[in-house]
Symmetry: C2
Subunit: 208 residues, 2 copies
DNA sequence: TCGTAAGGTGACGCCAGCGTCACGTCGAGC
DNA sequence: GCTCGACGTGACGCTGGCGTCACCTTACGA
């Protein structure tokens, strides 16, 4: 045994992991900077010290790579947001928890954020309705559950989910641009607006 | 004079206009379907009965074409939205007018909408902060003016503008997906939410 | 009716990305 | 230490987009 590596892996296994990671990391930067459409496999490989042929030992093509890159970022966020929401005991907590988790993610990983923002159109078209789209679906489901229990007034859950996610996206962009990004402030703002919106929707509904 | 054309233009002038229009129209569809990045000049030309060389008599390259295509749609919307807002006599009218105009546009020209949605990331990156971005700026300015006059409670105008635009974008997507799109319903929903949000922001501010 | 030139045409040369494959290297296992 | 095969390598053939240009058609004006 000539093991070497600090990890428990052999050299071969280790470089394999490293190469894959290098490709994904380079791809993340490339897709974020120039967008999926104009990026080429070569662009990614060039940001790596690998040969072009090597790429194809790891991924069959650009699209597969893109899917993996997104998976790595987005799935985790969505899961975190949803988990945070699940623990909420009140409506305010429900809304705030989701926003806090999401804004926290943006602040901590601006590159992933840029990646998703830059390619949001492509993402929507490619997976039709995933990543953010699925986020909307999940939120709508959570809202419907909350309405059923009576925590949230009766309202169009689909529209409400869309409004919440849309606001999150744009407020997030604004927050990231401010230095340093104020996660708590953005969370408070978004939460207040959306809670106020639900309140008023409830009031108007009752009035009619 | 062999004029011919129904319009007052000569044949040459007429085909020139028609060719330009044909290219722009084809480009709109191509960019909407495959996104700016992966679209090629050839893709556009192929949707036309023109030869590839002809394209370069009208536009120097893909980017110029893209800018013109966007200009044609976006500038007009932004102007319409802003004009509608300007006539508003109350806060409710201010918010509702903007949304109504915007949602009306989406419903009336879904292709332009698809174009902008599909390429929103590219647009942001290319013009950095135009189209929608400029929309946010304008809205923020209008909000600040309204705050100064006392119609809108003191709040972070930039965040508020972001939230309003973000909500508009996503609610718009949802609205367009419903058949038939209910412009008034979406307008009422978005307006109520955002007004409620402002209300609550004002209340919380006063409380602190 | 005729000369002129505006402008459409598409083949052309160039370039870059694609995916492959024959070769070489080097770690793994004995 | 030696053999073996996994895997990195980069040149290669191919494809398709790019922008150009010599040619030709035809509207225009006299």
């Amino acid at each position: 045994m000539s093991v070497a590596a600090d990890s428990g892996l052999g050299r071969r296994e280790a470089t394999k992991l490293a190469n894959r990671a290098a490709i994904i990391s380079a791809a993340r930067r490339v897709f974020a900077e120039m967008g999926y459409g104009s990026a080429t496999v070569r662009d990614v490989v060039r940001r790596t010290d690998l040969a072009s042929g090597t790429f194809y030992n790891y991924f069959p093509d650009k699209e597969s790579l893109f899917r993996v890159v997104l998976e790595e970022s987005a799935v985790e966020v969505r899961a975190r947001v949803r988990a945070a929401r699940r623990q909420a005991q009140s409506l305010e907590e429900f809304v705030a928890a989701g926003y806090r988790e999401y804004f926290g993610f943006l602040a901590s990983d601006p590159e992933a954020f840029e990646l998703m923002r830059r390619n949001s159109g492509t993402i929507r078209a490619m997976f039709d309705e995933p990543i953010f789209g699925a986020g909307v679906e999940e939120l709508a489901a959570d809202l419907r559950a909350a309405i059923a229990v009576g925590i949230v007034p009766e309202l169009d859950a689909e529209y409400m989910a869309a409004a919440m996610v849309g606001a999150a996206l744009e407020v997030g962009v604004t927050m990231v641009r401010r230095e340093p990004p104020d996660v708590e402030g953005a969370t408070r703002f978004a939460t207040t607006v959306l809670l106020g919106g639900m309140e008023r929707l409830g009031r108007e509904r009752r009035a009619s």
